[in-house]
Amino acid sequence: MHTFSYVKAGSIKEAGDLLAANSDAKLLAGGMTLIPTLKARLAQPSHLIDIGGLPELSGIDAKDGKLTIGAATRHVEVSRSAVVKKAIPALAYLASQIGDPQVRNRGTIGGSLANNDPAADYPSAALSLNATIVTNKREIAADDYFQGLFSTALDAGEMIVKIVFPVPAKAAYEKFPHPASGYAMAGAFVSQSGKDVRVAITGAGPGVFRWKDAEAALGKKLAAASVEGLSVDAADLNEDMHGTKEYRANLAKVMTKRAVAKLAAPAAAAKSKGK
């Protein structure tokens, strides 16, 4: 690690001011990406502004068809929350599949969405459910928020305060974990709200994306068979020694089918989501 100044922010406003005043400052919540980066001496921020303990960033609340989760809420809290399990059980399941217990005890939903790792789990839920990302400055629709590899609509000095998820009729998440890292090689979050079906794929490409062909087919008939004849365009997907584009395209489809199969069996799905 290089040296830096540590500041524990007392409020969202103070954190925002510090961020605005120090262009090389970084926000620290769970630190699950930032701390390893610092340890590898790959980043040299002037300040770490610790927002992990801010009460304004915590809390889980469901009302009026919306589930609101504070940005500093840890994955373990989302995975175990009775409120989340009742409103969007697939989201609680997703949180339970992130990393390992140590990561889930530290990592936050806001941190995951701000980082927008192309293989992170949360972006798929936010995009599929068309969540609203509420920052200290404005509200951003998920459709506008994700802008590819580690890139978001957040401006410098902007920080996520909370995430508002519209509660869908049905939702399910399935991922194929990378055999080394456990990140999603491909993950599919499928949700149905009214007639709308939205399929968000994470892990396979340079950033989370919607598989619109599958959405259209599933909008007509919500069954795994509906996507059987479709394929994810492999051209823009990731490729490395762990898998070709074609393999990732295949996984995206298989995970979508499995998520849809879970949707089609709500009782069984609810049980498996409860763990």
């Binding site: 690690m1 290089h2 040296t3 590898a40 001496r41 194929f176 055999p179 080394a180 890292s181 990140y183 020694m241 762990h242 898998g243 070709t244 393999y247 295949n250 996984l251 298989v254």
Partner: protein
């Protein structure tokens, strides 16, 4: 019951299933590992490493490091040259094929003139703090002139390939042979069927939980060094330090306690440690260094990295008539002490596997590439040769449309064939594969596989079954004998000294059980001391490696305890008022029927020095076994689940079933790690390591193997009084071929190289359109 069916619970003391004495200390964080040693006034070392695979060093400028407060020194190859720290020991045989003289390149402790792999240490910074040393490294300016690099061993052997060392033409330190070529070529020429297969026994890394570390102190009075560093045995470490630094062994005192994993990776004294000696002496202060995990990936010795072609000749009755092995062993940029010799020797020793193969020939090419160096790794050539043999046998069965179990059965050596003199010149003591494998096949319900396959198919899964039948030589050791010092104190506490050092094997328990059994006392009364720094220089003995410690040091514990009893009889005779021959011993007491007197171990030791030295010389024992795995593959994702895993092993008498089972679990999982994921990969163009973190290097997870059914089938070794065969590595030797054979069987292909990752398996399914 047959002699070989007999598995007596020889060891009754404390029960065969005692939990390990060392575990409470280790799992509660009370172990003392190398980085736990600190010395007053210590300084910290940090190494600037090559960021490229092959380059000439044009200049090194460290003028700017003075900007960093606390920096006290920078050392480079010029210092290595001045110190003469240029050549680590090598156990390479001095002559190879046709009298070829082996060419062992220098490895200066800091690079001189050239860097040869990513991670090669170029400079060492010494500072008051670790952070200052790191910051200073960032300010050293090295100008390189890049050279073409070669990371593929076959490419490295080709004419015109980039040359790593001027004194190693063709990047080939030595070519070696085993057996005789002509009879094998004749067998191949006359064969009814020939099966030839090339298998890549991939490059992996040990990834021990404890990273490498060292604390090195210099003592001016005696011009000597105190060393704390992870080791498999202090004698070996001392000897390697002495060789690398051209000093006497008496100039090194090695003090270590716990070691967090060895696997062969600790069998090397690394250049970093020797570099630190220079600073410790020049600055007259202790120097400390702890490796990062990134440094571990780049610079710890790697394992395996063997490309093996096996050509098997069979007659019309499917009897094996000859086997040719052509073996390219990639040693990386430099030769480690244990790398090349171990691979050649261990592969030669059991080149016939468990079969009657009258003609054997092995041709080994040792190759240097622009990659990390390679050393012993759990088996050191033994799993590699077994993998090649068991793959070529399965391929032959496929080609001949035979049941692989049947083909093996036709070719096994029978119990009566042992001791067996192989065509490569080794004498293999005893095994009974016909009996052992019959037990395994019955337990695994080999013949019922088709029904299970059909059941899997109904679930949309591809099921495969694979077996391996293997044997291996345990290490004969590089020291002429193993010694054990044993003594008793006035409290009746027995202390045992050994130089075999546990890196997790549990000597504090298993050696104590042997001694307690011999003395007829509670195991708790026996304390095992490993590598005591005062005593070790006066003891002869081997390090822990090659699955040999229970065979060697463990057996000598028994011998030493019996010598202690004899010594005690002489001492007790006086107290009991009889001749020594009239003294009996049992359960911690010397008694005399004549005088009706008795004296306990403690009472005797309170009066007189009660101690003994045991010794013994042990050649290789031959643990063997048959493992049967069944796998289920999800054709949609290519992921493989291990549906069942059975091991039937013969390691002679078992001292501690707890420890043997633990070793077996670990070894099987280490094998499956290589089969399903572990792989060190270098980019062919740049020579950069692509798998330098656990984000890309696929370690096995506990859930991959949900259970192992472990069974024994015992034949006793007569090489020692306890009937023991070593077994630390044999599970790994058996699991590589069993698991790959099972996956290959499920996919219906002839061969697939490791690692069998989901993406590779899926791709194979796509290409072969296998039906499910």
């Amino acid at each position: 019951m047959d002699q070989h069916e007999h598995h007596s619970r020889l060891f009754k003391v404390g029960g065969a299933q005692v939990s390990r004495f060392e575990d409470m200390r280790l799992i509660t964080g009370n172990g003392k590992y190398s980085s736990d040693w600190n010395a007053p006034g210590q300084l910290h070392a940090c190494f600037l490493r090559s960021d490229r695979a092959h380059a000439r060093i044009v200049s090194i400028n460290f003028d700017k490091v003075g900007q960093i407060k606390g920096v006290v020194g920078v050392y480079t190859g010029a210092d290595a040259q001045a110190a003469g720290y240029l050549r680590p020991p090598s156990f390479l045989p001095p002559t190879g094929k046709g009298g070829m003289k082996a060419r062992v390149p220098e490895r200066p402790c800091l690079a001189i003139g050239k860097v040869r792999f990513v991670g090669d240490p170029v400079a060492m910074v010494i500072a008051e703090t670790h952070l200052a040393a790191l910051d200073a490294c960032d300010l050293i300016d090295v100008v390189y002139e890049d050279l073409p690099a070669v990371v593929d061993p076959e490419e490295a052997l080709k004419p015109g390939a980039p040359q790593l060392h001027d004194d190693v033409p063709g990047n080939c330190p030595v070519e070696a042979e085993s057996g005789v070529e002509a009879p094998v070529m004749e067998a191949i020429a006359k064969a009814a069927h020939v099966t030839k297969i090339t298998v890549d026994c991939t490059r992996v890394t040990a990834s021990p939980m404890e990273p490498r570390a060292a604390l090195i102190e210099y003592t001016a009075d005696t011009d000597s060094y105190v060393v704390h560093t992870p080791s498999q045995g202090v004698n070996m470490t001392r000897k390697q330090f002495a060789t690398y630094a051209n000093l006497g062994e008496d100039k090194f005192r090695v003090e270590i306690q716990d070691v967090g994993g060895g696997f062969g990776q600790r069998s090397t004294v690394y250049p970093e440690y020797v570099s630190m000696m220079m600073a410790a002496k020049a600055l007259q202060r202790p120097i400390k260094w702890v490796s990062t995990r990134t440094e571990s990936f780049l610079t710890d010795t790697h394992g395996r990295a063997n490309l093996i072609t096996a050509t098997l000749a069979l007659d019309k009755n499917a009897q094996f008539t000859g086997l040719r092995i052509d073996w390219i062993t990639d040693q990386g940029a430099y030769l480690s002490p244990t790398g090349p010799a171990g691979h050649i020797r261990n592969a030669t020793s059991c080149m016939n596997g468990v079969y009657n193969i009258p003609a054997l020939y092995g041709h080994f090419k040792v190759v240097l590439t622009n990659t990390g160096w390679v050393a012993a790794y759990r088996g050191a050539g033994r799993p590699d040769i077994a993998y090649a043999i068991e793959r070529v046998v399965d391929a032959a069965a496929l080609e001949l449309n035979m049941d692989p179990a049947d083909l093996r059965r036709r070719n096994y050596l029978a119990l009566s064939d042992y001791p067996y003199k192989s065509a490569t010149g080794s004498t293999i003591e005893i095994a009974d594969l016909p009996g052992l494998s019959a037990k395994a096949l019955a337990l695994a319900d080999w013949s019922g596989f088709e029904a299970r396959k059909a059941a899997s198919a109904r679930k949309g899964k591809l099921r495969g079954i694979g077996m391996s039948a293997v044997i291996e030589p345990t290490g004969a050791g590089s020291y002429p004998r193993d010694e054990i010092d044993i003594s008793v104190d006035g409290e009746g506490q027995v202390t045992v000294h050994t130089v075999a050092h546990s890196q997790g094997q549990g000597h504090e328990t298993s050696f104590a059980m042997v001694v307690a059994e011999a003395l007829g006392i509670a195991t708790e009364r026996v304390k095992i001391r490993q590598g005591d720094a005062d005593r070790a220089p006066h003891m002869v003995g081997n390090h822990t490696g090659g699955s040999r410690s229970m065979v060697g040091a463990g057996t000598v514990c028994h011998i030493a305890a019996n010598k202690l009893i004899d010594a005690g009889k002489s001492l007790a005779a006086e107290d009991l008022g009889v001749e020594p021959s009239q003294v009996s011993y049992g359960k911690g007491e010397f008694t005399s029927a004549h005088s009706k007197k008795k004296i306990t171990l403690a009472q005797l030791a309170a009066k007189k020095t009660l101690a003994a030295k045991g010794e013994g010389t042990f050649i290789s024992t031959f643990p063997n076994g048959c493992h049967i795995a069944e796998v289920e593959i999800d054709p949609e994702t290519g992921i493989t689940e291990i549906a069942s895993y059975l091991s039937v092993d013969d390691c002679g008498h078992v001292v501690s079933h707890t420890i043997v089972e633990g070793q077996m679990h670990g070894a099987v999982v280490q094998g499956l790690g290589q089969v399903f994921g572990e792989h060190i990969v270098y980019d062919k163009e740049s020579g950069q390591m692509l798998t330098g973190t656990f984000m890309d290097y696929i370690m096995p997870r506990a859930g991959k193997l949900k259970s192992i059914q472990m069974e024994e089938y015992t034949t006793l070794s007569k090489l020692g009084p306890l009937g023991i065969k070593g077994m630390g590595g044999s599970g790994c030797t058996a699991s590589l071929p069993a698991l790959v054979n099972a996956v290959v069987n499920a996919l219906g292909v002839r061969h697939l190289d490791m690692p069998l990752t989901p993406s590779k398996v899926w791709k194979t399914i796509q290409q072969t359109n296998v039906k499910h």
